[in-house]
């Protein structure tokens, strides 16, 4: 039924060794936190992802780039089963997080999402106070420590504390776009996840707000693993350690072309299509 599986898998076969080479060249290899094995995804009858295999090392920033509609957001949303919420969605393959396939029958996506947080394309603070926005996650997770401390710590981590500390009762919706996005990051940090998925987190922000978020991403790398989807190649170059390039294959479903250390991918890509994309010949 699915035509030509070898054709779609071929890029991954090339991609995985090059990623391993990069890791070896980079000194001691960091353990992989998220391992995707032959992940396929359908919206109804339309296949959006064809067999993605990708390893994401711990405490690194992995950027996912590619032209519009190449499945990069779809892939990201598979990593915390966000696509479960779409009625017609179907997934095949495995996503291994902390030694377990998150798509296994005995995995509760609610429990899993507590460790794999997400920041969305458009800032989406709840219509609640700043404090309650940050406290929401810990509350639903049954956090028992001092909520005030946790809220302050999370807001500090997200570099928002100094701007809002005097007015934590203010509605999250009254903040500027950049502040709202940092609030959403603080909200994600407050449940103390291992991985943070970011789906074009700066696409709705102005350049100054974008710079602040990018600085923040570099700081957060110390304690979190971050996967960021971006349509902006410069952004990928600025913030990430490793970059994966996605493209639409012949069956018009998204596939992984190449993954490598960011610097290497942007200077000496091993795939002609990657080179064409980063030099602006298409996309």
């Amino acid at each position: 039924m699915e035509a030509n599986p070898t054709g779609t898998r071929k890029p991954n076969v090339e991609a995985s060794p090059s990623a391993n080479d990069a890791a070896q060249a980079n000194g001691p290899a960091k353990p992989d936190v998220l391992i995707t094995e032959d992940l396929k995804f359908w919206y109804g009858k339309m296949r959006a992802l064809s067999g993605i295999s990708l390893n994401i090392p711990q405490h690194e920033v992995m950027a996912i780039i590619g032209p519009s509609g190449c499945g990069k957001s779809t892939y990201l949303r598979c990593l915390n089963r966000m696509n479960d919420l779409i009625p017609s969605a179907r997934v095949e393959g495995r996503v291994i997080f902390d030694g377990e396939n998150i798509y296994a029958r005995n995995v509760d996506p609610v429990q899993m999402r507590r460790r794999i947080g997400m920041v969305f394309q458009k800032p989406n603070p709840f219509p609640k106070s700043i404090y309650d926005n940050v406290a929401y996650g810990p509350k639903v997770n049954g956090y028992r420590g001092s909520m005030d401390d946790l809220v302050e710590h999370s807001l500090r981590q997200a570099a928002l504390w100094d701007e809002v500390k005097d007015d934590l009762k203010k509605s999250g919706l009254d903040l500027s776009g950049g502040q709202q996005q940092r609030l959403c990051i603080a909200r994600a940090l407050a449940v103390e996840p291992d991985v943070i998925l970011m789906d074009e987190p700066c696409s709705a922000l102005d350049p100054i707000a974008t710079t602040r978020i990018e600085d923040l991403i570099r700081e957060l790398r110390e304690s979190y693993t971050i996967v960021i989807v971006t349509h902006n190649m410069q952004q990928a170059a600025r913030v990430s350690d490793r970059t994966a390039f996605f493209m639409i294959d012949e069956q018009s479903s998204g596939s992984l072309v190449e993954v490598d250390e960011t610097q290497r991918l942007f200077t000496t890509p091993s795939d002609q299509r990657t080179e064409d994309y980063i030099t602006g010949r298409f996309g």
Binding site: L85, V110, F126
Partner: protein, 325 residues
Amino acid sequence: MLGARLTGRNPVAQDVNSSPGAPEVRSQFAPRRRRAFIERGIHGVLFICAAVSILTTAGIIFTLLGETLAFFQDVPIVDFLTGTRWTPLFVSQSFGVLPLVNGTLVVALVAIVVAVPIGLMSAIFLSEYAPARVRAAIKPVLEVLAGIPTVVYGYFALLFVTPILRDIFPQTQVFNVLSAGIVMGFMILPMMASISEDALRVVPRTLREGAFALGATRFQVTVRVVVPAALSGILAAIILSVSRAIGETMIVSIAAGQQPKVGFDLLSSMETMTAYIVQVSLGDTPQDTIEYRTLFAVGTLLFLMTFVMNILSDWIVRRYREVYE
């Protein structure tokens, strides 16, 4: 500015076209007379249609107020609003409207106690839990429920619900508030559910996703994010339901009885404002008597109550609506 230029009334443009002495050059964009005439005619017809409802409202208010003012020349307004005996049709007349207001509010309260929880929960089910196919099956049923004539509900209350109540509570009177209130609750249930569901569904999907991504369960997402975000719409639905319950006539006329009294005994008969109006309208009360004018006084009070409710719900929607984007 733009309008003037389009219709060729821009003085600068005219200067260019018509230098003094020379015959005026007809613009290629000059208005076509016939088309402009039709356009104006359509405008007028549409305006009249829109004005009909406003004029009707104005006419109703005018009639109500005229007779009501005449009524208050005979009965002091304070006696009307604070009296606890309502016996305009008896020899010893009293015009204290409180028993009717009491009856109206008690029935409405019963109806709300039935309609709000069930309506809200069915709205939550339809908007947050039901798969598309289930929703497609349930929505039309709700609308059928909304389309049943109220007289059918009235007899349903009297002939079906009341006997059940009398089995459970033998002291229940044949005409009683509880039966009318419960059935009225089911009557306003579809409206409550439908408006609340609309309010829940306009909450952006991204907000739900944000909560799911933090490890919230569907119930936590619904109760702590979606419902609070939709609260203004839900409050509006509740107020409109109250307003509907206060104005409902047929069910209470048939099933709640005609005893104007102050109290909270749900198993006994009470008269509501609407039921009183029906009672007098059906009888042989002669025009231009004080009994006749009580109709308009009660009607005005009823009108004011529902009017205030509707304004209030409108205000709540405006005031507390969360603006996304």
